[in-house]
C-alpha cells in the first residue's frame, strides 16, 4: 500500500475526529473573530499614528485570526496524538504496516483541512466587514495557502510535543506560551512603530512577526515579495524543523522492531 494511501486513511480519521469534537471547531472560529472585533474596535485610533501602514485597523489586524487559528491547530494536533498515545491506539497503529511518516502527515492532513476551512471563514469575515484585499483574488488564494501552511507547521510542532511528552496536558500547556509569542510580535503595530526598544527587538527576532507581516502584506500592501518570501520561508523552515523533530520523537516513542 502506498504511503499516500496511508496518509489518506489517517487524515480521514483525523478529520472525522475533529468534526465530532465541537469544541475543536467552535473555538478556532469564535475566539479569533471575537478578538479581531474587540481589538480592532479598541485600537482603531492607532491608524492616526504617523507612518501607520493602513487607514483601517481592521484590515491591519485581519492577519491575527489566521495565526491564532494556526495556534489552535497546534493544540488539536498535539492533544489528538497524545490521546492516541495514552489510550494505546498508537500501539494499535504500530502493529499495522502504517509508516511513521504517514502517521504524522496524515494527522496533519486533518489539521490542514480544518485550517483551510477556518482560513476561508476568516477571510470571508474580513471581506464581509469591508476589508479590501490589496493583492486581489489571487492574493486571497495565496493568503489561504500561506495561512494553511502556517497551521500545518504549528500542527507539526504540536505533534512533536505530544510525541515527546505523551501528555495532552503538556501540549495544552504549550498554547499559552505560543500565545505570548504571538503578543510579542508585530501583531498590534508595525515593528518600526513600536517605541519600546526591548519589545521591538523581541518582535524582530520573533518568527511569528514575519508570518503575520507576510499575511498582512497581502491584505494591506499588495504584492510585497520580501514580506511574502520571509513568511513562506519561516513557515517552511518551521514546518520542516517541526516535522523532522516530530518524526524523531515518533521513532523514540515507537520502539517497534
Amino acid at each position: 500500500m502506498s504511503a499516500l494511501a496511508q496518509v489518506g486513511y489517517v487524515a480521514r480519521r483525523s478529520v472525522l475526529r475533529t468534526a465530532r469534537q465541537p469544541a475543536n471547531i467552535i473555538f478556532p472560529f469564535v475566539f479569533p473573530t471575537a478578538l479581531l472585533a474587540v481589538t480592532s474596535a479598541g485600537l482603531s485610533p492607532a491608524t492616526k499614528i504617523p507612518g501607520f501602514p493602513s487607514d483601517s485597523f481592521l484590515a491591519f489586524f485581519l492577519a491575527f485570526p489566521f495565526i491564532q487559528g494556526a495556534l489552535f491547530a497546534t493544540m488539536n494536533a498535539g492533544t489528538d496524538l497524545a490521546r492516541d498515545i495514552q489510550s494505546g491506539f498508537l500501539n494499535r497503529l504500530a502493529l499495522t504496516p502504517l509508516r511513521g511518516g504517514a502517521l504524522i502527515v496524515g494527522q496533519l492532513g486533518g489539521i490542514a483541512v480544518l485550517a483551510f476551512i477556518q482560513n476561508c471563514y476568516y477571510l470571508a469575515v474580513g471581506l464581509i466587514v469591508g476589508v479590501r484585499l490589496e493583492s486581489g483574488i489571487v492574493g486571497g488564494i495565496v493568503l489561504i495557502i500561506l495561512a494553511t501552511g502556517v497551521a500545518i507547521a504549528f500542527g507539526a510542532l504540536g505533534a512533536f510535543f505530544a510525541l515527546r511528552t505523551g501528555s495532552g496536558e503538556a501540549v495544552q500547556g504549550l498554547f499559552p506560551l505560543l500565545f505570548v509569542g504571538l503578543f510579542l510580535s508585530s501583531m498590534n503595530l508595525p515593528r518600526n512603530l513600536i517605541e519600546a526598544d526591548w519589545f521591538r527587538t523581541v518582535a524582530t527576532f520573533n518568527p511569528i512577526s514575519y508570518l503575520i507581516e507576510g499575511l498582512r502584506s497581502l491584505i494591506i500592501t499588495g504584492w510585497d515579495w520580501e514580506a511574502l518570501g520571509l513568511a513562506f520561508g519561516f513557515a517552511g523552515l518551521l514546518a520542516a524543523a517541526a516535522m523532522v523533530l516530530a518524526n524523531w520523537a515518533l521513532q523514540l516513542r515507537l520502539t517497534r522492531t
Binding site: R13, L16, S87, G88, L95, P97, T255, R256
Partner: protein, 325 residues
Amino acid sequence: MAQAHGIEAEGLVRTFKGGIRAVDGIDLRVEPGEIYGFLGPNGAGKSTTVHMLTTLLPPTSGTARVAGFDIVKEGPKVRTAIGAALQEAALDSLLTGREHLNLQCALHGIPRSERRARSQELLERVGLTLAADRKVGGYSGGMKRRLDLALALAHRPTILFLDEPTTGLDVQSRSALWGEVARLAREDGVTVFLTTQYLEEADALADRVGIIDHGHIVAEGTPAQLKAQIGRPTVEATPADGATPEAIARILERFGEPTGGSAKGVAVRLEHGVSDLAGIVRALDSEGIKLENLALHAPSLDDVFLAKTGRSLEGAEEEEAEVEA
C-alpha cells in the same frame, strides 16, 4: 488457516531504566494451533513479554521467532502474521465500530472491494452488528473487548496475542469471549498466546500454561500436568459447634500431611488420593465428631503457583500492588 510455525523464544530478557529486569530469561515454545496461557500476577512480566513478541518492544537480549520470523530482524513480517489485542482496549471513542474495522482493514492493505464485507463478517462474529454504527465511547467494557478482538482478526492473522482480554469483564462477557477464542483455535487453527491473571481462564482455555513470576517461567505444562505435579487432592473439614479442630486434626493426620486451609477448617493433603475420603468419614463418625462441612479440593493452578513460588496468586497480586504503590 493452518500454519507451520508458532512461537519460539530463547533467553528473552527485557531490562528497563534503573536495571529492572521485567523479563528475565524466558524460554518458551508454542505449537501452531495451540492456546498457550501465560499466567501470572500483575507486574510478573506478562505484558512486557507480549510487547516483545509482538515487536512493539525490542528485547534487551535473547531471541524469539514468531510465525517463523525473527522478532528483531523481521519485525514487519511478524506484524503481518500476528493480531494483537493488548491490555487496554485501544479504541478511539469518537469512531464507530465499523469505522474502526474499515480503518484497520485499510491499513492492513485489504482491498477496498473486500473491506466492507470483511468488516461486516467480523462485526457479526463478535456480535456487534447492532452497535456497529454507534460511537465506541458508548460501548460497554465487554463490547469494547469484542471489538478489540475483531480488530486483531481483521487481516486474518495466524497467531493471536491476547493480553488479559477479560480483565474487568462480567461473567457473561468473559464466557462469550472464551467461546470465541476457543473457536478461533479449534476451527480456524489460530495459535493463541493469552496472558491472564485468572486461574480459571487459563484452566478453561489453555492447552498449555506457563506460569510467570518475577520475569521467570516457574512452571509449564498442560493444566492437568501442572496439577499432577502438585499431586494429591486435599480434604478440609470444618468443625461444627462443639467439635475442636485439634480432635479433627488428630484424625485427619492419619490420612495425609497437614496443609493450609481456611481459618476455621483443618486440611490435609491425602496420601492415597480420593480413596481416603471414605476412611476419613468413618473415622470422624466413630469418634462422634460433628462437622459443619467436609470439602474435597482437587489441586488447582493456584496450588501450582503456591508450590512453585511459595505464594498464592492472590497473595502475589497484593504483594505486587504494594511494590508498585
